[in-house]
């Protein structure tokens, strides 16, 4: 059966591989011309995704029978085509080992094969979800009218739009990306658009799909239809679902769901979520998330518009290294017991981060945790008033524990420079607030705030390569800098990418390149793509990952020269573009030791490997 589908898919290869089907040979030619191919072979996809398309007859029939019980009105014909992409852990592993040699040959066909099946199965599920929506109409309208009543008594605020959207309207369905969070009992927890109450039966259907597949010892991963990709992610007692028409890869969408999960964890901790649901399976988690929807909304908007999430790297504010160092030193000096991280954020970008020495020796601070913090601060203007003291969990640092965060803006009323001090002691507010006063004083003395105000993102024109329109450059950690935060640098998006739509279009192109580079079935190292309105080149080596966008008429030779120039420029500017040596302090032993530690780290540092390839 599986073979059949491959053969069937073979014919579809050309059709399904819509965007540049010739990117591989082109890329290889380019690589050869750079004589780089041999130097950094991308490792074989060892960790091939655990998924495979399970399109066995029995599965389909099983689904059919069970689902018809639930949704009798749907005619059987749509069921027979229904194939979900499942994780079939027991069977697939051995199969893959046997087929090792033929795997690469089959890959293309396999991809196409699943695509083919997916479209039909997707139709089915989308039909089911749509059906649920129809049934909901009654509930939906009810839910909505009550909301309207409520709104009538309060201020008819403009920002309430997403929450009381009519979930039966076409406009609701046309959103580019929906995200739903529900509990294992099928209780709605969050919906990006529309109120959760109005969507409870839709979420019920989602849960039915999840638990039905689960009952066969499988995990539902995704469903494809012509226009939509539905991705499922199960984390503990939470189920996250994304319905997207954005053409992103399943893997990217799953990463985004993971960010949503982590943001929830950052508010409640993993331990308490498991405890709550162990205790009471049908607990309504919205009780605990009430008032925090904006944080999740903000996260999803950021995920769509900020490539940091795609690259899993932090974008820091470009700043002269001397200024960054002097500000870091100010933070380094203002410490109190149990202080673990001192973070300064300016214009929603990381300016510097100073870390407790012993803590950071054990664990590394992940970009995801920084993203969640940046989103938390950006999503709520509540922080602009006074000094905030709030528990916050950094899920990748430790998903089960809270830090206590002191958050205060240093430049009211503009509120662009935000200080974030994380302590492990929940009673430490006054001591930590005292650190802020010290920092504030020192910054006034050094006139740091007005210098920070002048700092800004850079223009691609500074690189001095005429055809280069935009780029994203992410250096990889080399062993010497292992403890360093993963960062990337990127210029402002300028004309022709100044409008929101064009920005999104460029990001979508990058996302597509990224998905090809990071494809689990057939990763690529180099892609040269001539698109309609621009030419893109993506290149990943063991030292960096680079995405570049050129004007459409650039030649391949030009692009290569441009990249060489660009890498030189980055090397020259790296002290300004990156936080090179995150400083440390010690709040446990004597402070003099920590400053010495900081210096020796600086001396130890070696070349980041920026240009060693050229």
């Amino acid at each position: 059966m599986e073979r059949d589908s491959h053969q069937e898919g073979e014919a579809q290869v050309v059709k399904n591989c819509d965007p540049p089907s010739d990117c591989v040979p082109t890329a290889e030619t380019l690589a050869t011309s750079l004589s780089l191919l041999g130097n950094h072979m991308f490792p074989d996809p060892v960790e091939k995704n655990d998924s495979t398309s399970v399109d066995k007859e029995e599965h389909a029939t099983l689904h059919q029978s069970k689902v018809t019980q639930k949704e009798q009105h749907l005619d059987a014909e749509s069921h027979s085509n229904q194939v979900n992409k499942l994780e079939a852990e027991e069977t697939e592993n051995s199969e893959y080992q046997n087929n090792e040699s033929t795997k690469s040959v089959d890959r293309d066909a396999e991809d196409a094969g699943t695509d083919n099946d997916q479209s039909e199965s997707g139709e089915f599920v989308v039909a089911m979800l749509a059906k649920a929506k129809l049934e909901e109409q009654g509930i939906g309208v009810k839910g909505r009218s009550s909301l309207l009543l409520e709104a009538g008594t309060q201020e008819p605020a403009a920002f309430m739009s997403h929450r009381d959207e009519d979930v039966t309207a076409d406009s609701w369905r046309q959103h580019r990306k929906h995200v739903f969070v529900l509990s294992e009992a099928g209780k709605p927890i969050y919906s990006r658009y529309g109120s959760e109450e109005a969507l409870s039966s839709t979420m019920g259907v989602m849960m039915a799909l999840v638990s039905f597949v689960q009952s066969g010892d499988n995990i539902i991963r995704s469903v494809y239809s012509e226009g939509h990709t539905v991705v499922f992610l199960q984390k503990g007692p939470l189920v996250l679902v994304c319905v997207s028409s954005s053409r992103q890869s399943e893997q990217q969408l799953r990463e985004e769901l993971l960010y949503v999960y982590y943001q929830i964890i950052s508010m409640l901790t993993q331990a308490s979520i498991s405890r709550i649901f162990e205790h009471k399976k049908n607990y309504d988690l919205r009780r605990l998330l009430a008032g925090s929807e904006k944080i999740l909304d903000g996260l999803l908007n950021l995920v769509d518009s900020d490539p940091s999430f795609l690259l899993a790297a932090v974008h820091c504010l470009p700043l002269a290294s001397s200024l960054r160092d002097s500000i870091s030193q100010i933070l380094q000096k203002a410490i109190t017991p149990n202080l673990v991280f001192s973070i300064l954020i300016a214009k929603n970008q990381l300016l510097t981060i100073v870390q407790e020495k012993t803590v950071i020796e054990d664990t590394r601070l992940e970009p995801t945790d920084i993203h969640l913090l940046l989103n938390l601060i950006g999503a709520s203007s509540a922080f602009q008033a006074g000094e905030i003291w709030t528990p916050i969990c950094l899920p990748l640092f430790n998903p089960d524990c809270y830090f206590y965060a002191y958050i205060s803006y240093l430049d009211p009323p503009e509120c662009t420079v935000c200080l974030l001090l994380l302590s492990t002691d929940k009673e430490a507010f006054y001591a930590v607030a005292e650190c802020k006063r010290k920092i504030e004083e020192a910054m006034v003395a050094q006139n740091s705030l007005s210098l920070i105000a002048k700092a800004q993102s850079y223009s691609v024109s500074q690189v001095g390569v005429s055809d280069l329109r935009h780029f994203m450059y992410k250096p990889f950690d080399v062993p010497d800098n292992y403890r360093q935060l993963t960062q990337f640098t990127s210029p402002e998006m300028e004309a022709p990418y100044s409008s929101e739509e064009e920005k999104m279009r460029l990001l979508d192109l990058y996302r597509y390149m990224h998905s090809r580079i990071h494809s689990t079935s057939r990763p690529l190292k180099l892609i040269y793509q001539v698109a309609e309105r621009e030419t893109l080149l993506a290149w990943v080596t063991s030292k960096f990952e680079l995405y570049t966008c050129f004007s459409p008429l650039v030649t391949k030779a030009c692009a290569i020269t441009a990249i060489t120039k660009l890498l030189r420029w980055i090397k020259k500017e790296e002290d300004r573009l990156f936080i090179r040596y995150p400083p440390k302090y010690s709040t446990t032993t004597n402070p003099s030791k920590s400053s010495r530690g900081g210096k020796s780290d600086q001396q130890d540092s070696t070349d980041n490997g920026f240009l060693s390839l050229l």
Binding site: L288, S292, A382, A385, P391
Partner: protein
């Protein structure tokens, strides 16, 4: 003039207008689209009361349930607590009663309690009769006012009333928290100067 620091915390259900009351008192402004507080927000304002300066150290707590467990941190060592409910939401008045109970059990013994029925500009949507709330407040010897942060009604009055009720000799913070000591020492030393 003597300076006294008074730690005041605001408690109450989510969305009743705690932050709006503080905002009105401290900044004399009102934002209809204010965001829900996260954790707790700390602000200060100094006002003159008779021949003393009262510096209010205000802890504006988040009403969301997930921050509930943190409340003791904020009311511990407080001289006064303003418990806020929304006159258009009966439920928020029930939550208020729970807060009173919790303060009686775990709060500082001499804490001054003020009950504020906020959003009194929305008379048409009233769910909690003024008399019921007043009777309840009297029964627990609490200050009672109906307020409107939006229209600046009775906001300053709550704080003035708190100043009036605070014992003349500092007896308020019997079990003051560690952090509070700092503040109180400062105020004590100032008082000695005068």
């Amino acid at each position: 003039m003597a300076l006294r620091e008074l730690k005041v915390c605001l408690l109450g259900d989510t969305g009743v207008g705690k932050s709006s009351i503080v905002w009105r008192f401290v900044e004399d402004s009102f934002d209809p689209n204010i965001n829900p507080t996260i954790g707790a927000s700390f602000m200060t304002k100094t006002v003159q009361y008779q021949n003393e300066l009262h510096k209010f150290l205000i802890w504006d707590t988040a009403g969301q349930e997930r921050f509930r467990a943190l409340a003791p941190m904020y009311y511990r060592g407080s001289a006064a607590a303003i418990i806020v409910y929304d006159i258009t939401k009966e439920e928020s008045f029930q939550t208020l009663k729970n807060w009173v109970k919790e303060l009686r059990q775990h709060g500082p013994p001499n804490i001054v309690v003020a009950i504020a029925g906020n959003k009194c500009d929305l008379l048409d949507a009233r769910e909690v009769p003024e008399k019921d709330a007043k009777d309840y407040a009297d029964s627990i010897h609490a200050i009672f006012v109906e307020t409107s942060a939006k229209n600046a009604i009775n906001i300053n009055e709550v704080f003035i009333e708190i100043s009036r009720r605070i014992p003349v000799v500092d007896a308020a913070g019997g079990i003051s928290g560690r952090g509070f000591k700092l503040g109180r020492q400062a105020s004590e030393s100032r008082r000695m100067c005068c």
